[in-house]
Structure formats: C-alpha cells, structure tokens
Symmetry: C2
Subunit: 348 residues, 2 copies
C-alpha cells in the first residue's frame, strides 16, 4: 500500500519481473479489495502471487514511533513479520522510510556483530556500477560502524553487483592517511590492518563517486545522504542547461533531433528506475525500500535486488568477515540462527 | 610561486584582470629572477604591479606545521604578513591549501565573535549562483560554528554575489524540523529564532544544491568538501557518457557537429575557472585560495573575488550580524580594530 502509485505500481512491478525471477513466490500484503482486480490483469501471476489481506496501512506522514505502536496489523509490519517468521526471504516496500526502518529493526533485530544497520544503494559510474552506504540510517557513525559498513557493503557488492573481491573506499576530505577527522582515520587504520574478504583501497573523495574509483563507498549516514542527493541535483542541473543549449538556434535544434536517439539512450542509461531501492543491511533478514515515487518498472528493480541478495546468500556470507572483526559474534550467531524462508513478502 | 603553472599563471592572471580592476595595486611575492621576465611581457602591469623578492616558497608537500615553522620568509607568508600589516587588503595564492590556512590563522587570527574560520566557494545552479561553506577548514562543527557560518556566508553573498538579503539553508538529511543530528537541529533552532540580516530558509537537502534553492548552503567541512567534489565527479560522469552517446552513429556525430556551438557555450557556462577560488572567511583579513591546477584566467577569477570582498566591505558588514549573535564580541572588536590596507598582495 506504500508509494505514490500503490498498489498499482507494486502489482505491476511484480508482474514485470516475474518472468525473470523463476521460482520466486510473492506474498502481497494489503487491501484485497484494491489488489485483487489489479492482480487479475496479470495471468502470469496467478500461480506465483497470493494476497494477504489487511485493511491497515502505514501512512506517509506517520512517525516511526506511531507506526510501531499502532501499525501491528499494517501491510508493512505483516510483510516484515513474514521475514522474521521465515515464511518470506525478503520484504520490499515503497512506503514510509522511517517507519520501515523502525519496524525492521524492532522485528528483525540487528545481526550479531553489527552495532547499527545501514542503508545502501548502487548507481552508474564512469567505470561501471558502484554502491554507497550509509545513506541516512545512522547519522553519527563511530569508527566501528564504518568498519562494519565496509564489511556489509562488500557483501552487497558480491551478492548484487557480482564482484567476488570488491574494492572498498572510505569517503574523506583527502586521500592521504593523515586527512580527515578522528573517526575516519581510526576506521581507515583498522581496515588497513585487517584482512577482510575485500580490497581496502584507502580514502576516497567526492569526485571518486562519479569516477567509480572503488566498488563500495563507505561513509556516515549524514554525508552519504547529502552526497547521493547532490548527484541527483547536479544531473538535473546539467540536463536543464543542456536542454536550454539545444534551443539556442535552429541549427542546434536540428543537431538535437539528429542526436536524439543517442541522447535517449543516455537518459535510459542514467535512468534512476534501474537503480531504485535502498537496501537495509545489518539486520536478520532482507528489507528493501523502493522509492515512493517510482512506477512498476522501478518497483520491479527493487524486487530484483532483494532476490539477488537472497540468492547471493548475502547475510550468510558476510558472517565470515564479521567474525574476523568481532570473533565473539560467531557464537552469538550460532545461538540465534534461524532458518531462512523461501518466499518474498511484498508490502503492497 | 604556488600552483602547477606558477608563476606564469599568476602573472598572467594579474594581467587578465588588471583592466577590469582599476585602482588595484598588485604586490607579487616570489622569485624576482623568474617573475621579472614574465612581468615584462605585460606593459599594462608596469604601473600597477611590483615584485617583492623572496627566494623561499612553501612546497606542495610541506605539512602545515613545517610551513609555519620554516616558511617565515616564504612568498606565501610574506603575502599574508602584508595583509596583517595593512599594506595589502587581500592575499591570493594557488599554493598549499593546508599551509595557507595555517599561516592565515596564525598571522591574521580569527575575527572577534568567530570560533573557527571557514572556506567558501560559489558555483552555477539552475536558479543562478549559490555559495557553500564550510568546504573543509572545520571538519567537526558544533551548532555555534554552523550559525557563524550562516552569518559569514550571507556576508559573502552580499559582497560577491551582490544579493542584499540572501537566503540561507542548512544542509540536512530532510527538510522537516525534526530531521538530522542534534548539531544541525540546534543550529536550525537558533537561526529560526534570530533575526540576522538574511532570510533563513530552513533545512535543505543535497539536491537543492544544483537547484539553487537558497543563495547560501551551510554545512560542516566534512560534508561540504564531499558534496562539492561530488558535483565535479557527477559532471565528469555525465560529460563522459554524453561524448560516448554522440559517437554512437554517424547521424548522432552529425547532430553533435550542428549542436557544437551550443554545447561549447554550455561548457563555458559550467567552466570551473570562472568559479575558481575558495575564500577563507572569519579571519581579520581576506585570503583567497586559487585551485592549484588553474591557468591565468582561473587565477584572475580568484583575484576578482578577493577584490569584490574588499570593495563589498565583507569583513566590516558581517560584524553587525555577528554582534547580534554574540553581543560581547562588539567590544572586543573595537579594541582589536586595525586599519584595512589598500593594496592586494599576491603570493606568486
């Protein structure tokens, strides 16, 4: 029920990716009266999607604390409960971000060895694709948080970007070891001195993001959020200027017409819908937040990432690196181990 | 002597702006044997530029502490000394940033009412031009620092961008008052409750930077540095993709040829050389850091900004707002007041 175009964008998103995601079963949480007619339009979903009716939904303006208290029967909460109970392997929602993070933390809890969960996404770069975390789940990080995010981010790059030994960079104000504040320098020291299952590249700067200097950019949630939104603003600025430039004369307009197929291809390459979704990392279960303003294609991308994380054994594989960082976490994990579910819960 | 193409870029920069900056006198600090032949090529500088010979120069790899200790006769230090002594109204350098900031702080000292100095720059936006600070002088800001940066940034927008009542926004992870960490929320509260000589717009996000939602973006030095470099990386990413798109087919190549004058105009509009210079704010004197890799045109822009700050009475005008924030600073200032110089010292 979450997102500007829900539940249509959600059901449409499931339909769009279903053929590519053979073997995945979808649980659609929400108002059956609204979902059933939409579902009926997609015969390919008859066998693989089922509606879990609930009349309640978290509203966009609900505070996380409100949603936690009053939303126990909401579509969002029931989808996360399905992950906690092992019925679903992942939950995907385009609803209220704060409420989704709060519910996911309370219901799924933080993985052993992880202090605070993080949000990650990935995006196009000159070199290919890179990921960045945290995007706002943890605004004030200590050095331990940053090291854990490096481990989580590398695991994500393995599962979703398919890079077996990812390179990881710590965002800083300069690349020299002496640069930056104490937190970043201490995290850099730990990462240089340890041998996790990734290549620690060292410090990177803001311009390295577009260049794709590393596969995973690690930073605190305040900076990550600002930086990611800055890339969107800069892209909009340049495309606005570009359109104005093409309108300058009839010759440049003609040039635009001739170059248009190439420019459309560029637009498709940078299309944010392909990169839709902020993935919650560090919890005992996979939760993906789709952009609220996305359409069916964008929601489908968010589902695909969730399935990539499940099939890439994201949560199991990072344990190896986490245990190297915090040896005692291994035993705690063994005690808390729960069996992974096989379905995908969708909070429509 | 600082910068990749110095002293040629510096002397060339002075020559490029001299005609626009009537009445400005230039003191060129550095190696006379290298500067004099360059200067001889510009007859227009004969009356307005003079060389202050020193064989010493701060190297790019010098640590700030080294430069402070050993660089007392360096061109950089002597240029700043000229500002402190009232002989020059501003110093401009393309040399070592850390050394320049350290020397400027030690020699000029922080203005009464300012806890820590900041670095600011300005850039093109969809709406026109905006400024942002801090860019890395102060990596860990408290709420007082952010409020002082709002005052300094507004003063800069008045002096350099010519906006009498600038709008100021505080960079955050969301626009609602409850968003962000304690530091940002506390600074937001002070700015909402006070009446300084600018319009406090509230919280802004990373995408507001390209949009130019406010005239002045205020943030801590860590985030500001990351965000500014991110805009450069994103612009490079898009221009790289754009060039590849135009090469896709002979039709798109023809389109490129026709649109080329418009695209060149776009490139000129976004040309970083126009926006060259990070200005140090909060000191008892004006110091501008030019990009080390710039050419004569870029260095000329940095000189122009320094002159705009002097002619716009930057340091005098912000006192009014600073005194409103810290009333006791007014008396301290009166005691420390020094007469402003009339020349411009250039650490060539």
């Amino acid at each position: 029920m979450g997102g500007d175009a829900a539940p249509g964008s959600v059901v449409g998103g499931v339909a769009a990716v279903q053929r590519r995601l053979r073997g995945v079963h979808f649980l659609l949480y929400g108002d059956e009266g609204r979902i059933a007619p939409l579902l009926a339009a997609y015969p390919n979903l008859r066998e693989v999607a089922e509606i879990r009716h609930t009349p309640e939904a978290v509203a966009n303006e609900d505070k996380p604390s409100q949603a936690l208290r009053r939303g126990k029967q909401s579509s969002m909460r029931l989808a996360i409960d399905a992950v906690a109970g092992g019925e679903a392997a992942a939950a995907v929602s385009a609803g209220n971000t704060g409420a989704l993070m709060a519910m996911a933390k309370v219901v799924l809890k933080t993985q052993p060895g992880i202090d605070r969960p993080a949000m990650i996404t990935y995006f196009p770069t000159i070199r290919g694709e890179s990921a960045m975390l945290d995007l706002g789940a943890n605004l004030q990080c200590d050095s331990r948080n940053l090291v854990e995010y490096a481990i989580l981010g590398a695991g994500f790059a393995r599962s979703v970007l398919g890079i077996e030994r990812p390179s990881v960079g710590l965002l800083n104000v300069g690349i020299e070891e002496a640069k930056g504040n104490e937190t970043v320098r201490a995290a850099g020291q730990i990462l240089r001195d340890s041998d996790f299952g990734f290549e620690f590249h060292g410090f990177v700067e803001g311009n390295d993001i577009g260049a794709g200097t590393v596969d995973v950019f690690v930073t605190d949630g305040f900076t990550g959020n600002a930086v990611l939104k800055t890339t969107e603003g800069t892209a909009l600025l340049i495309s606005t200027y570009l359109r104005a430039s093409f309108r300058r004369s009839w010759v440049s307009r003609l040039g635009y017409l001739l170059a248009r197929p190439a420019l459309d291809a560029l637009r498709d390459k940078l299309d944010v819908r392909q990169y839709n979704g902020a993935m919650f990392l560090g919890l005992n279960g996979i939760v993906v937040k789709s952009h609220g303003g996305t359409d069916a294609e964008g929601f489908g991308s968010a589902i695909s990432v969730a399935v990539d994380m499940v099939r890439g054994d994201f949560n199991d594989r990072i344990h190896v690196d986490l245990d190297r960082f915090h040896p005692p976490a291994a035993e705690q994990r063994e005690a808390e181990r729960r069996s992974a579910g096989q379905g995908a819960a969708v909070a429509s």
